[in-house]
């Protein structure tokens, strides 16, 4: 070699949060190339497709495939897709920092002009894109579940978008844990625990807090008018106006705790999706969380006898969405994306060089 290609390395100062598309793309391409070329990846994708296919087939076999079961079918398949997606996503990102550290491939990247933020976000996007590939293989089944009817295109688009955002959150949390823990096993476990906390732990907390927000109160109650001692109970109860009175009842103030449910990824997806009716599991979640948000009805309706049950506009329970209720999903989205941002923030601070305090068990190169 006699001549040498001159290389122009810019000397601009780049801080920890310096971000450029070129830098993010470099990391993303490096990550994706490695993932796509491993045979394990194709196997995982195939297994995922098969699993969703078999489970969707079972649901369809149980529910039938007609106009009446359409809503239920879509809800059930979407629930399956989200559940399996939340199971797969942590596995895709939870080793991205500590795995590279163990393999000795992280420090050389940190030595380049890539900023910690570019490395973190490049890894996050690579993990997310991989998760989206898994989501993509599930879309045919979602579309199939729409055929019987009862599900609008808007519902499909919003559920898919929200599921994608939930996967992004999980990937970001996984990234944070992988930067925080020394061993891949720990970060995978911590990510699964965090996801489980969001999906199940929030429900448990809501359930546990239920007695705490429940108390005996003087509330207005609508009751049947007294029939009097002389009433002949062998005759039908006459229809009459309900009477309002004040009485002591056990009342649950879920309007103070509904936000616990909002953090649940299922709630975010369910609450954001427009339409949905009847037995669609996401529609049920949505009406449940909205009534929790609204808190106890006042006056309490205990006017059973004098109600005309043939009148559909006057159902026994609230059933319909509360008028004037604010959507729950924006809160949930903020909580989830906030957790994701925390994960990215942790990763950036842990990827920053030089390291001052080396956590026990971690190595630099």
């Amino acid at each position: 070699m006699t001549t040498q290609t001159p290389v122009a390395v810019p000397r601009a100062v780049r801080g920890a949060w310096a971000l450029s598309w070129q830098g993010v793309r470099t990391v993303m391409r490096l990550e994706l190339r490695q993932r796509v070329r491993s045979s394990r990846w194709q196997l995982m994708l195939g297994l995922f497709f098969l699993t969703i296919g078999i489970l969707s087939g079972l649901v369809m076999a149980v529910s039938g495939f007609d106009q009446g079961s359409g809503s239920f079918l879509y809800g059930a398949v979407a629930w399956l897709v989200l559940t399996l997606g939340l199971l797969v996503a942590p596995a895709l990102t939870s080793t991205s920092v500590n795995g590279d550290r163990a393999a000795g491939t992280l420090a050389p990247l940190q030595m380049t002009l890539l900023s910690p933020a570019e490395i973190a976000i490049g890894k996050l996007l690579a993990g997310w894109i991989t998760s989206l590939a898994f989501l993509g293989t599930a879309i045919p089944f979602l579309l199939l579940a729409m055929i019987p009817g009862g599900t609008g295109v808007g519902r499909f688009l919003v559920t898919t978008l929200m599921m994608a955002l939930m996967l992004l959150t999980v990937c970001a949390i996984a990234l944070g844990w992988s930067a925080l823990t020394a061993r891949s096993v720990s970060s995978a476990v911590m990510t699964y625990l965090t996801t489980a906390f969001l999906c199940i732990g929030t429900l448990i907390l809501f359930g546990v807090s239920y007695p705490l927000v429940t108390q005996d109160e003087q509330v207005r109650v609508l009751v049947d008018p007294p029939l009097g001692p002389d009433f002949d109970y062998s005759t039908p109860i006459p229809e009459s106006e309900c009477m309002e009175s004040t009485s002591t009842r056990s009342v649950a103030h879920t309007e103070a705790t509904w936000w616990l449910l909002a953090a649940n990824p299922y709630v975010v997806v369910a609450d954001a999706a427009p339409g949905g009716e009847g037995e669609d599991v996401f529609a049920l979640i949505k009406s449940g969380v909205r009534s929790a948000q609204a808190g106890p009805d006042e006056p309490l309706n205990e006017c059973y006898a004098s109600r005309d049950f043939s009148d559909a506009s006057n159902p026994l329970t609230g059933g319909e969405l509360e008028e004037g209720a604010i959507p729950v999903w924006p809160f949930g989205l903020v909580i989830n994306l906030g957790l994701g941002a925390l994960g990215v923030g942790v990763a950036v601070s842990r990827l920053s060089t030089p390291v001052r305090r080396l956590p026990r068990g971690t190595r630099i190169a």
Partner: protein, 343 residues
């Protein structure tokens, strides 16, 4: 970085190992060898891990235009020191300058000037050699066209052109080492920090490495090489920094030892005749039970002039001499001398 020219540095290579001294007449030019501007300067660098002191007050200068060896026993803090110079680890105290930048506070400026080759090989198993290099060119924000040209050029340089499009996992250990070296050179760094670059290399590759590093030094780069293979460093290094138990061993002592007393190995057709002659002329034989062969006679001589005089006298008096040569590399002798000091 390529446009900046380091100051004129002496081109002739000293015969003996010289040690970069810490304070070359501070009242004249504080940066007489250009190390502060174009190389590495460390002063009182210290780093502890929990209760273990890995590096305890190390001083060194790595001037441009020269290959400096970092020599010391296992666990003496060489790798920790290199990590601090590379800007991956912050020193607890002390001062470090790499190509004029502080790696802690001016991280990106230092990083753009440093080519670092770690002692532990990390590989992107499924990437091809060419992709590894172009990825790193991208990471250094080198325009894509330049990056591709540079990658091809470096692959030729380390003799991996034939394997350019093979995935890195098929490479042998030595080939991976060469790819790692090419990776460290992608952005044409002014300062090269190479941790054990020769380990796993076959003899041919070692020669190539030596030629490459000498040429890079000739271009004015500051090259720091750590290694255990001391005989190799003799041919490669211009200077050496000896570290032991986290400290730079006093430079002057080494210099004095190297200059004053060195062990020579004498081989004659008749070892007894040689020994008799030495006894008669009052030259003490060094009895070293670890010596390679009992028929080889070891003596300690204060200088090269003394060695020349001894050989002349031996030949004049008819002792059938076969060879007279330094018993070991200069670095090895100093190193072993330091080791024996410790015991």
């Amino acid at each position: 970085m390529t446009s900046s020219n380091p100051p004129d540095v002496p081109k002739e290579r000293p015969v003996d190992v010289t040690v970069a001294t810490l304070s070359p007449d501070l009242d004249q030019d504080p940066d007489v060898d250009g190390a502060a501007r174009y190389g590495v300067v460390g002063q009182g660098v210290r780093r502890t891990f929990d209760l273990v002191v890995a590096v305890d007050r190390m001083d060194l200068r790595v001037p441009p235009g020269r290959v400096t060896a970092l020599v010391g026993p296992n666990g003496s803090g060489k790798t920790t020191l290199m990590l601090m110079m590379a800007g991956l680890l912050a020193p607890d105290s002390g001062h470090l300058t790499v190509a004029g930048a502080n790696p802690v506070t001016q991280s990106s400026a230092a990083r753009s000037a440093i080519g670092w080759m770690p002692d532990v090989l990390g590989q992107w198993e499924t990437l091809t050699c060419r992709e590894v290099l172009t990825t790193f060119a991208d990471a250094y924000r080198i325009p894509a066209e330049q990056g591709r040209a540079r990658a091809a050029e470096l692959l030729g340089e380390v003799h991996l052109s034939e394997l350019a499009d093979a995935p890195a996992r098929v490479l042998s250990r030595g080939q991976k080492q060469r790819l790692g070296l090419a990776r460290a050179l992608v952005h044409d760094p002014q300062v090269l920090l190479l941790d054990e670059p020769a380990s796993g290399l076959d003899p041919r590759s070692r020669v190539d490495l030596r030629i490459l590093l000498r040429r890079l030094a000739g271009q004015g780069k500051a090259v720091l090489v750590s290694s255990h293979v001391l005989s190799e460093l003799d041919d490669l290094a211009d200077g050496a920094v000896f570290v032991s138990r986290g400290r730079t061993v006093d430079a002057r002592t080494i210099e004095a030892m190297t200059r004053s007393m060195r062990r020579w190995q004498l081989v004659a057709l008749d070892p007894e005749q040689l020994r008799t002659w030495l006894r008669e002329h009052g030259v003490a034989e060094v009895v070293d039970p670890t010596a390679a062969r009992p028929e080889h006679v070891l003596v300690e001589l204060p200088s090269s002039q003394a060695a020349a005089a001894l050989l002349r006298d031996l030949v004049r008096d008819g002792v059938p001499m076969v060879s007279q040569a330094p018993a070991a590399g200069a670095l090895e002798q100093v190193y072993l001398g330091l080791e024996s000091d410790r015991r």
